[in-house]
């Protein structure tokens, strides 16, 4: 009974972080039709910035806020300076389809290499802002600590804010319209370039939050070639695909589903099967329901 409960709790916590990353990827995809591999690098960079804030001001919360703002700013700059130029220069021919993807892969390498130059091989770690010792119920220690509660609550809060922006503000409306048909949105008076940059910025903030929240959760040290951040990207992608790549709600549910499945495999079967399961799940979804398990509503773009 406790084993089952703990598995569910572990699944939800790690799933919540995949959800955040998936949200970041879906936001960029929806606002600019770019698959942003650099998101892992941006999250890593933002987390390093958060780490520096903690070193100087000793506040995790301040660090989280600054990391998110920095993540948003970096993402906005990438879009406004780099991607916008790329879309103008490589607008036609066979390169047009792949250029943005290759560009974000290049950016990922570049960010990591530059971070390596600046911080060197030195590893850093972030201390949890609240206890990471599990709650106990009648003598049993649960796999759910104040830190994990904080992670889940933060993800839910960010999700709520994002969906409010998307569904209930004119900015969200402009975001949805620009993603679907930029030319028509422009004709209707939407400043599409600015709106796209805003989509990147929101994604940058979400990615930064994912990085800041995952690092203290026993997920090892921060380093420029961090395996954890690569996994965050991979699992974020799988979650986004499960969710149908178009839907914010889908991304969150996809992340939670992936987290749960992987937790059950980890605890009930074997840790060595976690990766395989994640990729098999990805391939099955792509082959059987390429539109995603969750975002199956017609249109799938809301």
């Amino acid at each position: 009974m406790y084993k089952f409960l703990n598995t569910v709790l572990i699944g939800i916590t790690s799933g919540a972080i995949y959800s955040l990353m998936a949200l970041a990827l879906v936001l960029v995809w929806r606002s600019t039709r770019v698959v942003n591999f650099a998101q892992a690098g941006q999250a890593l960079l933002s987390t390093y910035i958060g780490y520096e804030v903690i070193q100087n001001f000793h506040s995790f919360w301040l660090a989280l806020a600054i990391a998110m703002v920095a993540g948003a700013a970096v993402a906005a700059l990438i879009d406004a300076i780099f991607m916008r130029t790329l879309f103008k220069r490589a607008a036609e021919g066979p390169i047009a389809g792949v250029a943005p993807i290759i560009a974000t892969l290049g950016l990922l390498g570049l960010i990591r290499a530059l971070l390596g130059l600046v911080v060197g091989g030195k590893e850093a770690s972030i201390r949890p802002p609240v206890s990471n010792i599990g709650f106990t119920i009648s003598g049993h220690t649960l796999a759910f600590s104040p830190l994990k509660l904080l992670i889940v609550a933060s993800v839910l809060f960010l999700m709520l804010v994002l969906s409010l922006i998307f569904q209930h503000t004119n900015v969200g409306l402009a975001l949805r319209a620009s993603a679907y048909a930029p030319e028509i949105a422009r004709l209707a008076g939407v400043k599409v370039d600015g709106i796209r940059t805003l989509g990147w910025a929101l994604a940058g903030a979400a990615g930064a939050a994912a990085g800041m929240l995952q690092t203290p959760d026993g997920n090892g040290a921060l380093s420029p070639d961090s395996l954890e951040f690569s996994l965050l990207l991979v699992f974020g992608f799988i979650a986004a695909v499960i969710g149908g790549l178009e839907s914010l709600v889908g991304a969150v549910l996809g992340g939670l589903l992936l987290g749960l499945v992987l937790a059950f495999v980890l605890i009930y079967i074997s840790g060595s099967l976690v990766f395989i399961t994640a990729f098999v799940l990805l391939i099955i979804v792509l082959l059987v329901k390429p539109g995603g398990l969750i975002g199956s509503r017609r249109g799938r773009r809301a």
Binding site: V161, N170, R176, A177, E183, R186, A188, R298, G299, R301
Partner: protein
């Protein structure tokens, strides 16, 4: 034609598509409360002319005059602020948004609040845009469709909503790209009377194939063929011009 400066005019507008002259030396004028039609056979350059005016195509030469003053060719998103709105041949509604949301997008220029206030509670702008959108829907008699998803509408209804989306920005110049295209006789009659009604509220530039509609609503016509104006003037006179009959009216209408 009034003697006042035209609301919109082009001088020697030319568009090249990689050596192909899509438009050549177009002089076009649109005056206040005037309905001007642009007609011509398929491929004559009518839509290219619209696209050039909307910043979707970059002119290779020529000047734009707005309200009597020379103006640089606008970027697409600046049109709304310049008081110009356009509908598209392909209608171009966002299928997964509701009708009222589709129209609200056209009212974007009236929104002022930034992201921060938008994110934290202030839905003032949203409500304001929604009100404007409802008023625009009323002007095309489609408020009953407000909460339907755009992809559930009949084709004639999508055309109405597209016009509402153009009207919501309160344009001085309304550009209609084949408003009657694909409509049955009843809806054409409806569109006809709608355009007559709108005439008192704005100037209208219209590309249209249905000659009945064109003759009924347009004060003046420009006839394009192979990217050049082959005739222009009052609708009746143009219709009787032999060159026009040869180039266009004699050819089967599409």
């Amino acid at each position: 034609m009034s003697s006042a400066a035209p609301l919109l005019a082009t001088r020697k507008l030319s568009v090249d598509f990689g050596g192909l002259k899509a438009l050549q030396d177009i002089h076009l004028e649109l005056h206040e409360n005037e309905v001007v039609g642009v007609i011509g056979p398929n491929g004559a350059g009518k839509t290219t002319l619209f696209n050039a005016l909307c910043g979707l195509v970059t002119p290779s030469a020529g000047d734009l005059i707005l309200n009597g003053k020379s103006h640089k060719w606008p970027r697409t998103y600046e049109l709304a602020d310049l008081g110009i709105a356009r509908t598209l041949q392909g209608v171009g509604l966002f299928p997964d948004l509701t009708v009222v949301e589709n129209v609200m997008i056209g009212a974007e220029k009236f929104a002022h609040s930034g992201l921060i206030s938008a994110a934290f509670g202030s839905s003032r702008d949203e409500n304001k845009l929604r009100e404007r959108a409802m008023l625009a829907l009323e002007r095309v008699y489609t408020t009953r469709l407000a909460n339907r998803r755009a992809d559930t509408l009949s084709y004639p209804d999508t055309k109405r909503v597209a016009i509402a989306r153009a009207l919501v920005s309160e344009p001085k110049i309304l550009m209609l790209d084949e408003p009657a295209g694909g409509l049955g006789p009843e809806d054409i009659a409806w569109m006809n009377s709608l355009i007559h009604n709108l005439k008192s509220q704005c100037s209208i530039l219209i590309v249209e194939h249905h000659m009945d509609v064109v003759m009924s609503v347009c004060d003046r016509l420009y006839v394009l063929n192979f990217g050049q104006v082959i005739s222009s003037g009052a609708s009746e006179a143009v219709r009787r011009n032999p060159a026009v009959i040869a180039a266009y009216l004699g050819v089967s209408e599409t």
